[in-house]
């Protein structure tokens, strides 16, 4: 029962995050979508730890690693946004076509 609740909520959050990543045009908003998807993964991991293997601490460690990944993603993403904003004055992905070859 609890496992079903957690997994369904995580599935919905994952769907919302994916929708956000695809539909938003701003780099920072896209990062928010990614964070939401990672958060859904974390919820799954915690649910698996608690309800299936409460004595396997590698699962809790995995959650810590996912949190690290979230922080890394934010740091590198903001660095890219900063550089983009410096050189092009905008972080819209619609205006990033110059990243493509011969555009």
């Amino acid at each position: 029962m609890a496992l079903t609740i957690c997994l369904s909520i995580a599935a919905v959050l994952f769907g919302i995050g994916l929708y956000g990543v695809i539909s938003q045009t701003n780099l920072v908003m896209i990062m928010m979508g990614v964070e939401l998807m990672l958060a859904a993964a974390m919820l799954n991991l915690v649910a698996f730890w608690r309800l299936l293997h409460p004595h396997t601490y590698a699962l809790q460690l995995f959650v810590l690693v996912v949190m690290t990944v979230m922080a890394l993603e934010a740091a590198v993403g903001f660095a890219l946004a900063t550089q983009r904003f410096r050189s092009r004055g905008s972080v819209e992905v619609e205006e990033a076509a110059d990243l493509k070859e011969n555009a």
Partner: protein
Amino acid sequence: MTPLQLLFLGVFGLAAIWFGWRVFRTKSMVRSALSLLAAMVALGGMFLALDAEFLGVLQIMMMAGEMSIMAFFMMMYMMDPGGMSSMNMTHQQRPAAAVGIGAGVLVLALALLTPWPPAQALAPSATQQNHDLGIELMTRSMMIFETAGTSILVAMIAAVATALAYPQQPD
């Protein structure tokens, strides 16, 4: 799991979904960053309801800083961070909705159709968890944890190197 825990799981979960949905449904960018923070805090509440006290508190603590910084960058790099004019910030709405719903339904179906083993009734106490997680970090999983630390260092260097201002090149 006690009925109270189940109730908290459901309430926090619905709150997380609601705030997660609000992130992409508001014009004000600071609002959407703070909505994401609220969704993350609701997830932290779910972790607490799942007896993972350390992870829950850690989640609640880390996300406060991360989402505030996100709000700050939003404000710096957006033309209309307050959402005062009605600027459209989205594209390819239909495919995005289709992919989002499709992936969500697929994951949901997987979650519901898999024959999960029966749930364990008891978890170790919070003090025991803190102790055992520490032992795990310092023995079997030390290498993984060290790698996480090193990758933070690498990301810090990479982020600073990427964000540095170079002198303007003549076109």
